[in-house]
Symmetry: C2
Subunit: 315 residues, 2 copies
C-alpha cells in the first residue's frame, strides 16, 4: 500500500501544519488524496458536524464565528469549513471587503478553511466533506460547515451535516425564497438573524406558518431569534444544536445519517474512478474524431456516447 503523504501521527494530534497540508492534498490531488483519506478513515466519526446555511447576507459567517467562540469557551476543538462565495471567510482580501474574524482566527484551537466554489465541476461538495473528515481525524470536536443555501451542491453539503441550521433575516420574502430553494426540508431549526431589525416578528411568524406545512413526526424544527453581531441568541442556538444532537443519538438517527453519508461516499468514489478510467487518451481521441460529424448533424451525441461505451466495455 502507498505511504500516506502526511505524517499521520502529527495529523491525529491536531498539528496545524499537518492539517493544512492534508486539506490541500484533498483539494488538489486525486490519488494522493485517496491514500490519505484511506489512512485517516479509521479515526473519523467522532466530530459533530454542523451545517450553517442560508441566503447571501444573512450573517452566516458571524454566527459561525460566534458559535466557534462558544465552543472554544467550553474547551472544545473547532474546525470551520466555509464553502460560500459570499462569505468573508472565503474569497480573501478582494476590494477590501474582507472582515477580520480576529477572535477566531488567532485562536489556535480553531482551524478555518475556505474552499472555492467556482470552477469546481461539481466536485466541491465531496471535497468539503473530505476536508471535514480530515478535521474529524485531527480530533476536532465540532466542525462548522458554512455554505450558501441555493445551489444543489450546497444542499449536498448540508446533507453531510448532523445538524443543519438555516439562517434567515427579516427581509420580506426571505422565508418564501428559502422554502422554494429547498431549505425548509433540510433545516433542523431556523435562526432569524438581525432580529433587532424591523419585521423580525412577522418573519418569525411567517417561518412558523410555513413549518406547519412540514410533516415531521419525531423532530419539530423551531425558530430562534439572534443578533449575531452582538452575540445575542448564540447560547440558544448552541442549546438547540445540543437538543437536536441528543434527539438524533436517542432515536438512532445519527448512526443512520453517518451510514448514509458513507454509502454516498462510496458511490462518489465509484463514479470518479469510472470517469477517470473511461476517459483514456484513446477514447478522448475517438471523441475528437467524431465531433465533426456531430457538428454536421450526421451523428447525434447519443450515437457517439454509445460507440464510446461499446469500446469501453469490449476491452
Amino acid at each position: 500500500m502507498a505511504r500516506s503523504p502526511v505524517a499521520m501521527e502529527k495529523l491525529f494530534s491536531g498539528d496545524r501544519v499537518a492539517v493544512a497540508r492534508a486539506i490541500s492534498i484533498v483539494e488538489n490531488g486525486e490519488s494522493e488524496a485517496r491514500v490519505l483519506l484511506r489512512s485517516l478513515f479509521p479515526r473519523t466519526g467522532r466530530s459533530y458536524r454542523i451545517g450553517i446555511t442560508g441566503p447571501p447576507g444573512a450573517g452566516k459567517s458571524t454566527i459561525t464565528s460566534r458559535l466557534a467562540g462558544h465552543y472554544r469557551d467550553r474547551g472544545l476543538g473547532v474546525g470551520i469549513i466555509a464553502v460560500d462565495p459570499t462569505s468573508p471567510f472565503s474569497g480573501g482580501a478582494l476590494l477590501g471587503d474582507r472582515v477580520r474574524m480576529a477572535d477566531v482566527e488567532t485562536d489556535t484551537g480553531v482551524f478555518i478553511r475556505s474552499m472555492a466554489s467556482r470552477g469546481s465541476l461539481g466536485g466541491l461538495s465531496r471535497k468539503a466533506v473530505e476536508a471535514a473528515d480530515v478535521l474529524d481525524a485531527a480530533g476536532k470536536d465540532v466542525i462548522l460547515m458554512e455554505t450558501v443555501g441555493v445551489g444543489q451542491s450546497e444542499l449536498d453539503i448540508a446533507g453531510a451535516a448532523d445538524t443543519t441550521v438555516v439562517v434567515l433575516v427579516p427581509e420580506s420574502g426571505d422565508s418564501i425564497q428559502a422554502m422554494k430553494a429547498g431549505l425548509m426540508e433540510i433545516a433542523d431549526f431556523f435562526v432569524l438573524n438581525k432580529a433587532d431589525r424591523a419585521g423580525a416578528e412577522q418573519a418569525v411568524m411567517s417561518i412558523q406558518m410555513i413549518l406547519h406545512f412540514r410533516e415531521n413526526a419525531d423532530w419539530n424544527p423551531s425558530v430562534v431569534k439572534a443578533t449575531a453581531s452582538t452575540g445575542a441568541g448564540i447560547t440558544e442556538i448552541a442549546s438547540l444544536i445540543e437538543s437536536h444532537r441528543a434527539h438524533l443519538e436517542k432515536s438512532g438517527a445519527l448512526a443512520l445519517k453517518r451510514r448514509e453519508r458513507i454509502a454516498r461516499r462510496i458511490g462518489d468514489l465509484v463514479s470518479e474512478t469510472l470517469r477517470v478510467d473511461f476517459w483514456s487518451p484513446e477514447r478522448r481521441a475517438m471523441l475528437a474524431a467524431r465531433m465533426e460529424s456531430v457538428m454536421q448533424m450526421a451523428n447525434s451525441p447519443y450515437d457517439v456516447a454509445e460507440e464510446l461505451i461499446g469500446h469501453f466495455k469490449s476491452r
Copy 2:
C-alpha cells in the same frame, strides 16, 4: 431503433401539446428521453440561447418576460426555461406570491417551462439544456434561460447559453458578491436593474471598476441600466445581445461554444450510462453487505469502492 414517444412532425411545427409532452419526457424518463432527444437532435442548433442570471430578487423574471415581449413584437418565436427556485415563473402559487406574467403567459408564441431545482441530484442542468433542445427543435428563434446565479449547476446552465446576461441591483455589496460567486467570469454584459433606486450610479461604477480586472481581448462586457418593471432599458439589452451575437458569429466563437456544449453532452451521457450499468442489483447488494464492516471501521469506503469496481471490470 425505438420509436419516438412524441409525434415528431407536430413537435417540429411547434405544437404546444407536443412540446409540453416532450419536455415532460425529458424531465422524467431516462430511456424514453434518449429516444426522443436522438430523434430531434438533427433539428437543433438554430435557436439563439440567452442565459439570464443573477442573485435572488434582482428582477430576472421581469427582464425575461420583457425580453420575450420584445422578441414577440418582432415576430420571433420565444421559449422560456426558468430554473430558479425564487422565480415567479417557477414554484407556482405558493402562499400567494406568484406574479402573473399575463402578457407573456397568454401569448401562444411563447412557451414557458419551469424546472424544479430541488431534489434533482445534479441532473437539473443537463435537463434544462435538453429542454432547450426541445424548444430549439420546435422552431423557437430565441430561448431565454433564467437561473439564479449562485450554485455550480446554475453556472453550468449559464455555460449552455450563447449570451449570458447577469442582472444586479443597486443594493450594496451585490456586485462584490456576484464577482465572488463567479458571475463576473460568465457575464457577457451586466444589467443594473431597478436603476431608479438610490445607489444606481455607484453600483454601475463599482461593476465597471471590477470589469477592469477582467482580461478579455476580443469582447469587453459593459453595463446597461434598466428598470424592467416599466420596460426602461429593454431595447438596450436586446441591442447588446444582438451585438454580442454578431461578435460571436464573426469570430467563430459561436460555433466553438456549440461544439463544446455537444462534447460536454456526450460526457454527461457516458457518465449517466456507466452509473446505471454499474449499480446493478448485484452490486447494490454487495454494497449493502459491506456497510456493516465499514461502520465498524474494519473496512474503509475506499476498500469497498475498489472491490465493487474490480467486480464490475471482471464481468
